[in-house]
Subunit: 313 residues, 2 copies
Amino acid sequence: MPFELTILGSSSALPTSDRYPTAQVLNVLGRFFLIDCGEGTQIQIRRNKIGFSKIKHIFISHLHGDHYFGLIGLISTLNLLGLKNDIHIYSPSELINLIQPQLDFIKGEMQFKLIFHPLNFKKPQQIYTDKKIEVFSFPVKHSIPTCGFLFKEIGKQPNIKKELIQEFDIPIAKIKEIKAGADFVTTEGKIISNTILTTPPPIPRSYAFCTDTAFHKPTAEFIKNVDLLYHEATFTEEMKDWAKKTRHSTAADAAKMAKLANTKKLIIGHFSARYKNVAPLIEEAKAIFEETVAAVDGKTYKVKSRPAEKAVN
Amino acid sequence: MPFELTILGSSSALPTSDRYPTAQVLNVLGRFFLIDCGEGTQIQIRRNKIGFSKIKHIFISHLHGDHYFGLIGLISTLNLLGLKNDIHIYSPSELINLIQPQLDFIKGEMQFKLIFHPLNFKKPQQIYTDKKIEVFSFPVKHSIPTCGFLFKEIGKQPNIKKELIQEFDIPIAKIKEIKAGADFVTTEGKIISNTILTTPPPIPRSYAFCTDTAFHKPTAEFIKNVDLLYHEATFTEEMKDWAKKTRHSTAADAAKMAKLANTKKLIIGHFSARYKNVAPLIEEAKAIFEETVAAVDGKTYKVKSRPAEKAVN
């Protein structure tokens, strides 16, 4: 039951020899969500052996080129591969205008639709849901309208202990009620408590994506307790004035957010090309939030299922 | 005195794990000409340590995405780097419309101009010249209007043998005439033949770029005797019907063109993603034209200076 993030690109505006511009894929139980789509994303998708046919939902945080210049190439490739799944794109509404002339050039041949869902930059919003997962956008603080994204597994119902179904002769008709929290009354009138009958489900897993953004306190409340947080750390504190001016974060900012939001693990990324070695960024973040790693293009970060009794609240 | 071609991308429409879409840089005596600009070109420019500030002339053969989707990312990066050199773009005239909305998004900040030069799809045309090099476009045969490009060094004047200047006491005023082909008359009235006084200059070097195109006989006449030819070889002969339908070439077509045009060396490229191994393509071409190699991304192919006496006509 995977819940795992693969980094396709972790550079900031200027790609480097070993970092592509922003793009990542979150695999939640076989659903593949592409988050941002910088130039070269389709090449990274191929290199990381992610099936193109699995990409049906694309989330674009904002309209700086390093977050969407790879979209037209990806769409073109999906078309050349003859794929037929409609593609949902969650993005600033202007995106369509930016790529329309290029789309017009290929649109006649396309066997799938592009369905655009405009983001709301005023307040958090649920933008996608199915039986297993909910996705929310939430405004962050950048030089142009930008959203972060929160992916949350929908909690499972408790499991009924099989041996007790037999022992108390529980009819199938009652199982749904017990899963929803009801106690069971035996034919002899004995009440069997729900807590005896069931084992709690694992804690729903969650992931939050925050780039590009300055440190933005309201984000902490919205992403509270996420298992995994990707937060930009474009600069170190030495450049904090420049970070502030350009509405980016330092590594310390990212770590403060991870701490404030009580996240389990932080991945920092969106590194300025000036850092050939990201050790100073990781060191700065770890001093504040120990469970920090630096994003590596092509690496997959798994979020493990945690049993309820070990829950950290 | 370099005249060398670096392949940045040699895939066809679908990039693969080890081949980017079409892009290459020709370095002629320190002038860097970028030919086509598929997605990821800026990443390949960086990886191959080509200075961004050297790119002032960009040639776009046609408007299929795998030949220009990297252009907006490259322009954006040149802007972020604060470069100020104007960029000349030789392309189908519609290109500007395709990238205009994205340009509008960044244009306010740009410190350089983009100067568009529309290509002529009816006949060959000189599109650039300076003291050392001429560049021509010529129409090829593809599913949409497409041009090839021919880069030719401008021939140098002969060198005067220094020891003879002294021996015959040739005044400086006469040197220009002798370089232009005149004989020299000594003060005693003795005529010294120009062939005695001078050594012929090296043969001007040349390079032709032909992709995307089906085999197109008129091309051979136009690129006659080029030192180096890059010709697409999207398929093997097994796929020749499909090649014909899509207006692409087989490896045999590319080799036939190299032979017909009396080129010195052929690089085949623009390989369909179906060929994990390009050995069958290279084998097919070599059976017709021995001096063939398969393009490798990141590899540089040098054209050496050849003394006139070894000229092959």
